[in-house]
Symmetry: C2
Subunit: 343 residues, 2 copies
């Protein structure tokens, strides 16, 4: 059908194996003369090795899989980007599956990725049931969790310091003199969000602020969730003078709600959030946020997955990025952080 390795061998007047040795640089030496003839034949015929056949033979595909809950969410998109970057650097192609917050799709992706014999699997478990675990337990494929841990399984993962980061952000709001600091968290039981709520609480506890004065609102992730939660919060009896928001994406909605309520940020209500997505640098005012180390996360994730045997769960630090929403001076033109490349 297409041009096969044997065709090249024939044209070069040698055997198929030698063609492989030339193309793969081993494992056996080839005389310079034959090598030249082979290369010429490859060029002439436009021969391209069939990676599928190679994978079958080698039982390695040089492919990794990543399943994320929702690629419309900039945080996951950025995480995927970082992992793709590092995978590419390591010679792997990355398969990305978008579960769209749907356990069936999540499981379907794990299944097809496994069927495609990926060499490893990254999973950011969607909120809710984890049917994919059933697919994984029989398989020999290594896999790790990212961003969150899945309740049942004891798979290692790569996480960030959610609690400590939230503490730092809230502490910074306190340092700006804010005292009535509300919290807009994620859905009730989603892991990174609950840890962030804990960090916020730690900071207020330390300051001796009574728990009764601590307002926590649970909202879905996403701009809309943040918008809705903030609307209620701002219309309530005890208007906060600051809000710690569990994600940048929600914070974008919060900013919008503040503007619609004819309040000013940061003057009336200061805001600090979490994630450090690129878009956080270009809101008005720009968002003060705990930036996740995306590039480092990508490197850690790939290294962790490929490591044999797998090490314990990695916890990476997050960094406070001060911009206008907390009351710090708003850097002009957004800052360089997270600037998208031209296109």
């Amino acid at each position: 059908m297409t041009v096969r390795r044997m065709d090249v061998a024939r044209l070069a007047g040698t055997s198929p194996a030698v063609v492989s040795y030339v193309l793969n640089g081993g494992p056996r030496p080839v005389s310079a003369q034959t090598r030249a003839r082979v290369l010429a034949a490859v060029e002439q015929l436009g021969y391209r090795p069939n990676g599928i056949a190679r994978s079958l033979r080698m039982s390695r595909t040089m492919t990794l899989g990543l399943v994320i809950p929702d690629n419309a969410n900039p945080f996951f998109a950025e995480l995927a980007r970082a992992i793709e970057e590092e995978s590419f650097a390591q010679g792997y192609t990355l398969l990305i599956g978008n579960a769209a917050e749907n356990d069936e799709r999540q499981t379907a992706y794990v299944r097809t990725f496994l069927a495609r014999q990926v060499d490893g699997l990254f999973i950011v478990p969607a909120h809710g049931p984890a049917g994919f675990l059933g697919e994984l337990d029989r398989a020999r494929t290594p896999w790790i969790c990212l961003d969150r841990q899945v309740p049942g399984a004891a798979a290692p993962g790569v996480l960030v310091d959610n609690r400590g980061g939230a503490y730092t952000a809230t502490r910074h709001l306190l340092d700006h003199g804010r005292r009535r600091i509300a919290c807009i968290g994620g859905p009730e039981d989603v892991m990174p969000a609950t840890d962030r709520v804990s960090g916020w609480r730690d900071a207020l506890d330390e300051e001796g602020i009574s728990r009764r004065a601590m307002s926590v609102t649970h909202s879905s992730f996403g701009r809309r969730g943040g918008y809705g939660a903030a609307r209620e919060l701002l219309a309530g009896p005890q208007r906060p003078d600051a809000i710690f928001v569990a994600s940048d994406e929600q914070a974008v909605g919060v900013l919008r709600a503040i503007a619609e309520a004819r309040l000013r940020c940061p003057d009336d209500v200061a805001v600090a959030s979490f994630d450090g997505i690129p878009g956080a640098a270009y809101t008005t005012p720009a968002l003060t946020t705990m930036a996740q180390p995306f590039a480092a996360l990508g490197r850690a994730a790939v290294a962790h997955l490929l490591a044999q045997p797998a090490g314990p769960t990695d916890v990476l630090p997050v960094a406070l990025v001060k911009r206008g929403s907390c009351g710090c001076p708003d850097p002009p033109g957004g800052d360089l952080t997270g600037e998208g490349a031209p296109a």
Copy 2:
């Protein structure tokens, strides 16, 4: 090594071929009894067919490849999302390669995707040289261009009505009574941007506005490019009362520049842009934009790629979405358009 089809056959007391017939529902019928035994054996052994071997045999991988110039750009991210969605619906897995605006990476991705025997390839050609063409000409793999056309090759593609859309947006600005409508385009020679500049010019021509009064600034795509271009424009001698911006992403930067110049949008300077990315609904004010039909683009792209023989280039319409930046009432809480799902 792992559990093979033959192991299942042995346990079920039948032949390997029958196992295939059961699992693939054909091509030959299997008695209900044997079918049950096979299924039980599959379940008991946790057998999962090896997709690589299957692909090799079938010379079909049920995989499509997509190469985009820059996945940090929300427009391409959204396009990728739409294509992934439709590919998944059609039973295909999508391989996404991020060229990072680098022709070498672009070519590398085309090469590896071809080596992996993808059944088809979508390419959004990066600005600049197109080394990937060399990889493609020998290959039998079908491929199409998206968003832009590549100068050399005569590959069909799926595009949108850039010129007409830009005309509509500019016309809308004129209808708001604006007359000094500047244009912030993309890099000099990038196709969709030049067409959009043409559409803007069409509208002003029609209105009888002299070409000398038409200010066009070329900037890189991305927020930073838009920000920089707008800064200069607003500091210039003849401040425009409206700006047509070639992409939403640039428009975000433009909005920021307007705010920093202590001007108000839309009162002092109205803005309309192009693409309809989700983020455009959550700026302050929200962006009036020509929305690309992402879902339809995804469907058209997949259908086009899989169609044999390939049809002519598709051109899809774009739709004016009126929000606050042009002077129309700003819908509260952003509108539903492009709302990210929770995560």
